[in-house]
Chain length 360, copies 2
């Protein structure tokens, strides 16, 4: 099912099997740090310093660092009754890497501050760090520092660092009327996965069940797509989808006082997606527009640059689909295949299943 | 007494006065973020992006970032029954800035992730951020990003970013036998302050009481000293004193397998310090050697470079005192003014009053 279950015969399912397994307090804090450093610590380049000093020293190509930090609390943002430790780590790292992707940044490194009770199994913490390392590895991001302390519950704070190899960062604002809106992949899968899992984790899932679970438990940050999009010079604004298409689109439009018209017929809703939504009793349009935690990218592309963007997007592993246009008229409208145009209160609302998190 | 009490007539003493004061949940998370951004958000330089996008973009002069992250939990690392919000913020920022100082880095910016219960007074969070801003301001560090979320207790995770303007970072290792050990300021004051405060915060403190409280509640990170020391090229190894002279000296020596001999007669124990220790019933030698949370710097200086170091140290606001030498023989020995040489179990032990925190 998920890689952690097949690859981890040592049973690092925190909060479930504690008999006889070593706990954080058995190893001591120095012991835990040494173990994590040895297993997951990044290799320093010449002139760099990794885990183990007062601070890490990291080379930032071309001298502009892209920085994001996120805190995750057990019980609020995740639960080890529901996620495997590796999934907690994977999701946390991917959500942060997605923030770098949305700026068009090249991933460089991450730092992890962790608080945990003394009776946490070492395997739980190890599983979380392994999940982070696996999600980070393809992008070349390295664990370069952190902090561990005792606390009465598990708290994870990730800081990710990227670099801007050229040009300007792609920010949330800068879209203009007439820009085409593209999304990568198929937003909504993560929400379908959540709804499936809420009914209990199905054993040996296949087909749409497997896909929905994977997209919820192991979302893939679109850092390749973000970098290529920024490089194309065609993208006027970009944001990652953590709160759902409509809500994140509103963030992208709000500071410029713009609106958008989306066309349902253009939405990349695959047959598998529709099957999944039907089986789960959810309107596929609502899942697409209002599901969150997909970590896909939403981009506004200049009309005169669409050709360059389309060429760049051919290399996107997750593809990119035009779903509508930016308008001077504020508000978001969804033109249905049949029936009325949806807007305002008629639009699907968020499905947030954890209390909403906001970033600054 | 402390600046927060005199400068903040609005009464931002979190956890004490809640009647009628606005709470986080009244303002909403967007409202809190907007308030913090407006009041404390750093001004972006050309090519930078501050608070408000998927990630911050920060210029790193010369392309090497120095990074440190630290998590502080209410109840474990601080208590609002004991510290004012401004002091929590000041101490947290200073402890992190001290990590940059210990690398010889130039402070650049900080990011703050915060979790807090919905019934936290807005003034408490505002006070914490004001304390951080005040501790950061002299160094030019700016708040460039962060994260806020709901949690059942207050958790603060700071990430600080510096730059290396030239040469190599000064790490914890690199000391050699014969190097002279220098400390800035007078380590031990913070512990005296803690012991004084443990008996209740004295009103209108003057003299040594005022000094001890200030050093515990508003420690000053030695970023100027760290930068000048690194620039002098004379410092072979450096660490900041968070766990006490002996324990941090051990960290500085351990990876090179070295030892040290310290001379009591050289210790910068002022008459006020001795008076304070006597009044609190503490051995001043023990307070100096084993008190923690001073955030002074400990440096090893090459014998052939002492002249250059002494010239550089003239500009140190906190001065620097030679307290002993690095030895090839492992272990730390303290040569008393009278009586036996202290070593091993005879050395004073740590006074840690919060559970020890370790950094990677």
């Amino acid at each position: 099912m998920s890689r952690d279950e097949t690859d981890d015969p040592d049973g690092s399912r925190g909060g479930r099997r504690r008999g006889g397994t070593p706990l954080l307090r058995d190893l001591g804090e120095f012991g835990v740090i040494e173990l994590l450093r040895r297993r997951y610590g990044g290799a320093p380049l010449p002139g760099e310093l990794a885990v183990g000093d007062d601070a890490a020293v990291v080379r930032i190509p071309r001298g502009r660092a892209v920085l994001s930090t996120d805190m995750l609390l057990s019980g609020t943002h995740f639960s080890l009754d529901y996620f495997l430790p590796g999934e907690v780590g994977w999701r946390a790292l991917s959500a942060n890497l997605s923030d770098l992707a949305a700026m068009g940044a090249t991933p460089v490194c991450y730092l992890v501050a962790l608080a945990a009770p003394g009776d946490t199994p070492v395997a739980t913490v190890d599983g979380i760090f392994r999940g982070m390392a696996r999600a980070a590895d393809p992008s070349g991001m390295r664990l370069m520092g952190g902090d561990t302390c005792r606390g009465d519950r598990l708290v994870l704070c990730l800081t990710v660092v990227g670099a801007l190899l050229r040009g300007r960062p792609v920010s949330r604002n800068g879209a203009r009327p007439g820009d085409t809106l593209y999304v990568t992949g198929t937003p909504g899968w993560s929400n379908l996965g959540f709804r499936l899992l809420r009914g209990g984790r199905p054993p040996n899932a296949t087909g749409w069940r497997r896909e929905a679970m994977r997209r919820h438990l192991r979302p893939e940050a679109r850092w390749r797509e973000g970098m290529a999009a920024a490089r194309s010079g065609a993208v006027s604004a970009m944001i990652d989808l953590s709160d759902g298409v409509l809500q994140d689109l509103a963030h992208l439009l709000e500071r410029d006082g713009l609106g958008a018209t989306l066309r349902e017929e253009a939405f990349p809703l695959t047959p598998a997606f529709r099957t999944a939504a039907a089986a789960l009793g959810i309107d596929p349009l609502a899942a697409f527009l209002a599901g969150g935690e997909d970590y896909e990218l939403l981009m506004a592309v200049r009309p005169g640059r669409r050709g360059g963007f389309v060429r760049a997007a051919r290399a996107f592993p997750a593809a990119a689909t035009p779903i509508g246009e930016v308008t001077a008229e504020p508000g978001i409208r969804v033109r249905r295949r049949a029936g009325p145009v949806l807007e305002g209160a008629a639009l699907p609302r968020g499905f947030a299943h954890f209390p909403p998190r906001r970033r600054r």
